[in-house]
């Protein structure tokens, strides 16, 4: 598969990693516990979680279904309010969802009565208030172009495939130029081929912005997490999920989808993650 933009403008992984570590925190999760009150009493989804994410870092939250990955992510987006603890994003305590944190929802969440173009335009119009109408349209055109949907811009979401909807959702999140991008199992519904090219697209967009955007993504795909992330956060099984381990991915960027799988570091991290996620590797007779 063809790889990301011009590699010359990118720094190699070691210094890149060093650079990231010296940066300020983009997201600071401090002792966050989230409990929901249900009919059967209180359910604690995540318990006393602390996590720091540097500016420009890509972090993958990984864990089994129902382990509270999405809940944790939603505390960053502001969709979920922690029962205790707090989340600081871009220096402010998160209280509500805000346009500084772009969200790509698990199920795309496009408005079905609007064209692809309008779906992105309404978000841009709402967030980039200071721009003129022409500038807003230029932004929308630019991002539709970037995800290769220009020929489909007048279609309704119902007329698009899952991969195309995903690209619209990503274009919409990028178009409002947030400093933090939150992706909730963004590629979960896609076939392997589309998924692969979407990974590249995502990194492309990230590179074009000089790797300044912080990306937090929820996934349960180990390969995806390793290919994209600087840091993989492995979560324990819920309820009351905690962080099991944070695994740093020190693979050089740009990463090549095909070559990376032969890298010894890749294999080591892959094994480590696998054993963190699965206690048993075979069925005991």
């Amino acid at each position: 598969m063809n790889n990301i933009v011009n590699p010359n403008q990118l720094v190699d992984s070691a210094s890149d990693f060093h650079k990231i570590n010296s940066r300020e925190n983009s997201i600071d999760i401090k002792n966050v516990t989230v409990s929901f009150k249900g009919s059967k009493g209180t359910f604690t989804a995540v318990k006393d979680i602390s996590l720091e994410v540097k500016k420009g870092e890509i972090v993958a939250l990984i864990g089994h279904s129902g382990c509270g990955k999405s809940t944790l992510m939603n505390t960053i987006s502001g969709m979920v309010t922690p029962s205790s603890g707090e989340v600081i994003a871009n220096g402010n305590v998160v209280k509500d969802p805000g346009p500084d944190r772009g969200i790509v929802f698990q199920n795309y969440s496009l408005l079905p009565w609007m064209s692809v173009y309008k779906n992105i335009y309404e978000a841009v119009d709402s967030v980039l208030k200071d721009k003129t109408s022409a500038e807003k349209h230029a932004v929308v055109d630019h991002y539709i172009q970037m995800v290769n949907l220009t020929p489909h811009k007048d279609k309704l979401p119902g007329q698009l495939s899952g991969g195309m909807k995903q690209r619209v959702a990503i274009a919409r999140a990028f178009a409002i130029n947030p400093s933090i991008l939150l992706l909730d199992e963004p590629f979960g519904a896609l076939d392997a081929l589309t998924k692969g090219s979407m990974h590249i697209e995502l990194l492309k967009l990230w590179n074009l912005d000089n790797r300044n955007k912080t990306i937090v993504m929820v996934t349960h795909d180990i390969e995806e997490a390793i290919f994209l992330a600087d840091k993989v956060v492995v979560m324990n099984n819920g309820p009351a999920a905690t962080i099991k381990k944070i695994v740093d991915i020190k693979l050089p960027r740009p990463r090549n989808k095909k070559d990376i799988t032969h890298d010894p570091e890749y294999i080591r991290v892959h094994d480590e993650l696998l054993s963190l996620l699965f206690d048993k590797f075979s069925i005991e007779d």
């Binding site: 987006s77 969802p97 944190r101 009565w113 309404e122 967030v127 409002i176």
Partner: protein
């Protein structure tokens, strides 16, 4: 939208004709049983042709053509229905979008909804000092409820997915209303309007019977006084057909504005 084949159209027309044949058959049977006290379809047809031949004659306040009567009723229904909807839609939006709105307004809706149009009529007369105003008033107040309820239901059932879009991208209240709430609720609103116009059209006859003057309801009452049952039957058929056309029109509107099927 799906295309309809000629064969399908032909089948539908055949069914409609068969249905009408059953209606005429029953009608004829009843006429025979009642020894022609209820006029049969044939004699009604003759009167229908007479009435339709000159629908817009005007020989003074108590003798006007069926066309004038019908148009006058349609005018009242549209006015009453439009006024009712202008109240109903915002009220439904308010009820559907806020818990407080729902809790405050729902009891009022539930108490006023079952009240017969006839019971409202004296209040209308009192308020408007004119029978025309009173008729429009009772149409408005009895036809608005289905629109209120359906609008409220539509708005309250907006999926979290759609609401989250508004939250995540910081939509203003106005943008949320016009880009998320109204488009989502529109098919429900139109369903409400469809039920409402049906009620409005039912109420007009009762209203005009009380109010007198000009109108299809008055025409029925006047024909009864003149002991022309054929004219009453003609009026009933016209009322039914117009009701059917209203329903078809709103059905078409429903299809045109439904984003789900596209």
């Amino acid at each position: 939208m799906k295309s309809i084949s000629i064969k399908e159209i032909a089948t539908n027309v055949a069914y409609f004709l068969a249905s009408m044949a059953i209606l005429l058959g029953l009608w004829h049977l009843i006429s025979v049983i009642t020894k022609a006290e209820i006029p049969n379809p044939a004699s009604t047809w003759i009167v229908f042709k007479e009435l339709v031949a000159d629908p817009f004659y005007d020989y003074g306040p108590n003798d006007k053509g069926i066309g004038i009567q019908l148009l006058s009723s349609l005018g009242r229904v549209s006015t009453g229905f439009a006024l009712g909807s202008l109240i109903a839609i915002p009220m439904g939006l308010l009820m559907g979008s806020t818990q407080i709105g729902m809790k405050l307004l729902n009891p009022i809706v539930q108490i006023l909804r079952p009240v017969s149009p006839l019971a409202w009529f004296p209040l209308g007369l009192l308020a408007f000092k004119a029978s025309d105003g009173a008729t429009i008033f009772i149409i408005a107040i009895t036809s608005l409820w289905p629109t209120v309820i359906n609008t409220a239901f539509g708005v309250s059932s907006i999926p979290d997915d759609h609401k989250n879009v508004g939250k995540a991208f910081g939509f203003s209240k106005w943008k949320y209303l016009t880009k998320i709430m109204l488009p989502f609720a529109l098919p429900h609103i139109i369903t409400g309007l469809r039920l409402s116009i049906g009620i409005a059209w039912v109420v007009i006859v009762a209203g005009e019977m009380l109010s007198g003057g000009v109108g299809i309801g008055f025409f029925v009452w006047d024909s009864w006084n003149g002991l022309s049952l054929e004219r009453i039957l003609v009026a009933i058929l016209i009322i039914g057909t117009v009701g059917l056309l209203f329903d078809k029109a709103f059905n078409a509107l429903q299809n045109a504005f439904s984003w789900e099927k596209k």
